[in-house]
């Protein structure tokens, strides 16, 4: 019974991490400079989930954990802004500014899904609690 709560908690943690990553992506939608002050657009991060067999129960149920946080290596979006202080000075993209390649729609839908999955696991936790409460009620 307690294991069921642990399993649901592992999913809560995983979905929470996913939501953190997504909010980071949305917050950095227009970040053109990286944390070291270099002109490099932000790259979208994406969490990858994995079945966690270390917390497997005797009945075969398993939790979930974050396998890795994948950094999107796709090309940035280029916008022609020659007067921008960070515009590219030479080469093919001269006069363009590199923007993060983040699709707001994808991020928002993903965030919605993470929220629903979080709620589903909270619901299962409530069921677990109610089963435990019922079992204890035999004593009364």
């Amino acid at each position: 019974m307690i294991r069921a709560i642990d399993i649901s908690t592992s999913a809560l943690v995983a979905q929470r991490t996913r939501l953190d990553t997504l909010s980071g992506n949305i917050a950095n939608m227009s970040s053109l400079v990286n944390e070291n002050g270099e002109a490099e657009p932000y790259r979208a991060r994406q969490v990858v989930f994995r079945t966690d067999d270390t917390m497997q129960t005797s009945s075969g149920a398993a939790g979930v954990r974050v396998e890795e946080i994948h950094v999107d290596e796709s090309d940035p979006l280029y916008r022609y802004q020659p007067d921008h202080p960070l515009s590219i000075k030479e080469g093919k993209w001269q006069g363009y500014v590199a923007y993060p390649n983040i699709d707001l729609t994808t991020q928002m839908v993903d965030a919605l899904e993470a929220t629903r999955a979080y709620e589903a696991n909270v619901g299962v936790m409530e069921m677990t609690k109610s089963i435990g409460r019922d079992t204890l009620s035999i004593i009364a």
Binding site: S8, G60, A62, V124, T128
Partner: protein, 151 residues
């Protein structure tokens, strides 16, 4: 003596039922936890297998000399007339078709966890647990009434 009182009731069977549904709840909770895990395959414990094993155990307790399981009042499939036999065994569930079609369905991430199915199974399982607990409670209150000679 007290052991005899408990053995003569359905309490041992109800206990097994509550324990099974608790184990199954863990498995189903694991499925919901892995809703977004790529390549994850839904896991479950077979209710049918459990019920058959439980029925066999109850039958064995009632008639220790004849170990073969046979539910009272029902014919085994060998005793049925041939015309009834096939329908009695196959296709007892009218929703078999859609269910089997959904079982083979795999989503884009290679996972086959179906949200609606898992939640339905969870609440069915919870009802099973509730029933076992409610029956246990009524068994205990019957025993209590007998002990205290008061209703």
């Amino acid at each position: 003596m007290i052991q005899g009182i408990f053995q003569s009731t359905t309490l041992p069977a109800l206990e097994q039922m509550a324990m099974f549904s608790e184990r199954r709840h863990e498995v189903l909770a694991g499925n919901v936890a892995n809703l977004d895990t790529p390549e994850y395959r839904a896991r479950d414990l077979s209710v049918n297998d459990f019920e058959n094993a439980l029925a066999a155990a109850i039958e064995k307790q009632r008639n220790p000399e004849t170990h073969a399981f046979r539910s009272p009042g029902y014919l085994t499939s060998a005793e049925l007339p041939p015309a009834l036999r096939s329908t009695a065994q196959a296709n007892t569930d009218p929703f078999d078709g859609p269910r089997l079609a959904m079982e083979k369905l795999v989503y884009h991430d290679g996972s086959d966890v179906n949200w609606e199915t898992q939640i339905t199974e969870l609440s069915k399982n919870q009802s099973m647990h509730n029933m076992a607990i409610a029956l246990m409670r009524s068994q205990f209150s019957t025993l209590n009434a007998a002990i205290s000679e008061r209703v």
